[in-house]
Symmetry: C2
Subunit: 353 residues, 2 copies
């Protein structure tokens, strides 16, 4: 109804849109806001020494998942885990959640019950309680979860705290969730080509598929670090790929980084999938998203206080002027640009169901 | 993928679904949870004497609004107002919001900017700050807003506090938003029938259309009551229609009610629309939703402390055994059953675009 020009969203992409939103909404003015629209989650004061942390993420059918390959229980679990991961990425303790669910009439009561069983598993695993939400009709299954966490104000870790000389660390292994996505997309294509006669056999890919469909949030590790009295200087969860997240930390911390690709931890199951597809597994690890492992900056003096089975050092933060670089196995270095999955990237529609 | 039977959602409806969800998720166990999935919003303790209140509502294109008639600025404003109203309905002060937005490629940057301008207007009007959210692609415009409010623990008003003898009061006037919806649906039908040659002239209907497209939350009144030192015993916002909301209060408060239909406040503009459509304006007022006025229970001893321009007494709460009744102008009474708009009611699809 507005008589203005029509500029497609993909001209500015998701981050451009967030910038326009910030501009229109203006800066926050309340002293209680510790952190607004910047990191994975927002932080606001609820008493002298305590803060709450809030994160909201939407999962939309045909954009974030394909119901054909996504069992409803996993979907319920994942919807919670990705938001819980955002609280974890601020070093908070997740506490409460609300769920807004848009349900098409092609979804049954039994499937919704499966969804809530998955939600319940995540609640039990991470100590979260669902307090409410909204249930409504929709054309496509649409899930929006908000998780609220809490923390002592001095425990919160932001993206902005990394300093030159700090070590770049990642937990777990990377690229597995992307390998799982590749397997599932390939299976879908085969089902389309071969029709009902095709029976997928996914047993061989269980590890990577599980990582794609049912990612875990690393609450265990931030709790362990807090118990050990160690506080990383910057922290982020790897939802959009290592390359994207390291650039977020560098941009907020005003520093550069050198990542050694040979040091990036990759599971052999992930390597197998990359080999099978004749692709570069390092690209899976650097640019594949949805692993929900943690990327953090830690002072070299603190690193020995952490359980070294729980993380790998993959490089170091350097002066801003040096930019964000990746050292290839051959010894060359090249700029490490985000290039992570963006929902508005050209051609994204092709991958949707 | 689950090998179970397929029972359509409309066999149990929205409230049946919420019951199944509660069953699967189980009761909340934390002492910090003051109120879980029951009222408009959930309440949890953040310090000894303070609580936070959280509400989540989704608005989905084709279910809750038609972009043809919904200017994006109004949509932004309404998305905020309906959630703010849920905080108001617990007697809280809205503070923070997150917004998850699913954007189809038929929406332009300019339209999204319009949406955020509407959000900004609501933020300015109600003292709310947007702290974050999520922006993603979608097939239909999908908006999920979470608003977090705060209150002193003793100020929170639940649905469960009404007692026989309390007066039933409503703020403002009712049925206007539904009248606006009827006008817009009628215009849409005429546009479909008459094609491009039809030019809608809506100036005459501005009041009711505004009430439908840009409802206000009655934060002004709960603030006024608190300043006057008066606390209603039960409170709810009228989102699904008076009949539905009075039944919610009666069910939670374990009492009955007698509503005098002739006492229900109705604007003359709303009467005009009902007359034009040859319909019963009382049905608009009793069953039409989305007015976002407040329904409250107050002791007869307290009622004189309130500004009598801000509300109307429409009946009284009675013993549970008498049920929920409406007194018609002719003096007869009949049961007042919810019959409010339910998103899963049979035939609802027909009204969708």
């Amino acid at each position: 109804m507005e008589n203005v020009s029509f500029t497609p969203i993909d001209q500015i992409g998701e981050f451009g849109l967030i910038d326009r939103m910030k501009e229109i909404l203006g800066p926050t003015t309340s002293d209680d806001v510790i952190l607004g629209i910047t990191d994975d989650a927002a932080v606001y004061r609820v008493s002298d020494d305590r803060v709450n942390i809030v994160a909201t993420d939407a999962l939309i059918e045909g954009v974030h998942f394909d119901r054909l390959f996504m069992p409803m229980e996993h979907l319920g679990y994942k919807s919670m885990a990705v938001n819980i991961s955002d609280i974890v990425a601020m070093n908070g303790t997740p506490r409460f959640a609300t769920i807004a669910l848009g349900i098409p009439n092609t979804v049954s009561i039994e499937q919704i019950e499966g969804f809530y069983r998955g939600v319940r598993h995540a609640c039990d695993a991470y100590g979260v309680e669902v307090l409410g939400g909204d249930t409504t009709a929709a054309r496509y299954l649409t899930i929006s979860v908000t998780v609220i966490g809490e923390a002592d104000i001095q425990d919160v870790i932001f993206r902005r705290g990394a300093r030159p000389g700090d070590l770049i660390c990642v937990t777990g292994d990377l690229g597995a969730a992307y390998a799982g996505l590749r397997v599932l997309l390939n299976e879908r294509n085969r089902m389309r080509e071969e029709g009902d006669s095709y029976v997928p056999d996914l047993a061989h890919y269980e590890f990577v598929i599980q990582r794609q469909l049912r990612p875990r949030a690393r609450l265990d590790l931030v709790n362990q670090w807090r118990d050990a009295g160690v506080k990383p200087r910057a922290l982020i969860d790897i939802s959009d790929g290592l390359a994207s997240e390291i650039n977020h930390i560098c941009s907020q911390s005003e520093c550069g980084a050198v990542v050694h690709v040979s040091a990036v931890p990759i599971a052999f199951e992930t390597r197998d999938v990359a080999d099978e597809f004749q692709e570069d597994v390092d690209a899976f690890a650097l640019f594949g998203g949805e692993d929900y492992e943690l990327l953090f900056a830690i002072s070299p003096h603190d690193v020995d206080k952490l359980d070294d089975k729980s993380f790998n050092v993959v490089g170091e933060f350097v002066e801003k002027e040096r930019g964000v670089q990746v050292m290839l196995p051959e010894g060359e270095s090249m700029p490490l640009t985000p290039g992570g999955y963006t929902h508005f990237r050209p051609g994204a529609e092709d991958e949707e169901s």
